[in-house]
């Protein structure tokens, strides 16, 4: 069925507050993917490689419902993962030698048992020395409500 706007707009509210996934009570984490991958809906955690190196481990976001809004230009519904204080920021520690290549970001649950989403970097970033940092862009799920039928 074709939902009217007021109904389809519920999708972002539902997703942002979905306690089983994006709005979990235990804050989800954003991790760095350090092996080549192709984003896809069928990806599982076992299909990607997350950095476990000191200073480059997954960072917990904010527990509970995430931001939700509407893009005034495209009409897309936006669910944005709330960054923690200090942001989703990684920095190579003293003594880091690398190289480590970052291919993208992965949103995972707090216990690192489930993968919720992936985002590839257009150009992978190679970390080679200490005091190098990566700051994640806004992590957004963009819903096109016109596609529900």
């Amino acid at each position: 069925m074709k939902p009217v706007r007021s109904l389809s707009n519920r999708l972002s509210t539902i997703l942002a507050g979905d306690t089983a996934t994006i709005g979990a009570a235990a804050a989800n984490k954003l991790g760095l993917i350090v092996a080549p991958f192709v984003p896809g809906v069928d990806l599982l955690l076992a299909d990607i490689t997350l950095s476990a190196a000191t200073g480059l481990v997954p960072i917990a976001g904010v527990a509970g419902a995430q931001f939700e809004s509407v893009d005034p230009v495209s009409g897309e519904l936006i669910v944005e993962v709330k960054p923690p204080a200090g942001g989703f920021r990684w920095e190579t520690p003293v003594g880091f030698t690398g190289p480590v290549t970052v291919y993208g970001f992965a949103l995972i649950d707090n216990g690192a048992a489930n993968l919720w989403g992936t985002q590839a970097l257009q150009d992978p970033i190679v970390l080679t020395a200490e005091n190098e940092s990566i700051i994640a862009p806004a992590i957004q799920f963009r819903i096109d409500p016109t596609k529900v039928k």
Partner: protein, 147 residues
């Protein structure tokens, strides 16, 4: 960020649960429509002609018995609504001949339209107790719904 299937499935389930949860007063119901219309995100009750005639009252969406799955034909996730476990929602006419062009989910009492769908071809019923058993009333969520 591209979501995984687990996220899409959960969204489908929660969206379906939300709709089912609205069946309490004033209640959301399905009703057949008597005149041609164009399904749209902006559809309002004035754009459609609900069939409130005797025997064609809105059919309430019950609390349980619905189906959440994946369409093997195209991979869409689906939330389909039934009158009970596996039982299709049923409309019937008790009197005059008429032609139905589709159906809508409306909020009974306020007559706010929530969703609509055209029948592939209009369906004419001519006698008492002619029935419409639609094979699928629900929503499809394509895999590219979220990017």
């Amino acid at each position: 960020m591209l979501p995984t299937l687990a996220v899409l499935k959960s969204l489908r389930d929660e969206f379906g649960a939300y709709i089912v949860s609205q069946t309490t007063a004033p209640g959301w119901s399905l009703i057949l429509l008597l005149a041609p219309f164009t399904p749209s995100p902006d559809l309002v009750i004035g754009d459609v002609t609900p069939d409130f005639d005797v025997g064609n009252f809105p059919v309430a969406i019950p609390d349980s018995g619905h189906y959440y799955g994946r369409d093997p034909a195209n991979g869409d996730l689906v939330a389909l609504f039934y009158a009970g476990a596996g039982v299709q929602l049923l409309f019937s006419t008790s009197n005059t001949a008429r032609t139905w062009y589709g159906w809508a989910v409306i909020e009974v009492g306020t007559s706010v339209v929530l969703a609509s769908e055209l029948l592939p071809t209009p369906l004419s019923v001519v006698s008492d107790e002619d029935e419409v058993r639609n094979p699928e009333i629900g929503f499809h969520f394509p895999m590219n719904l979220i990017r």
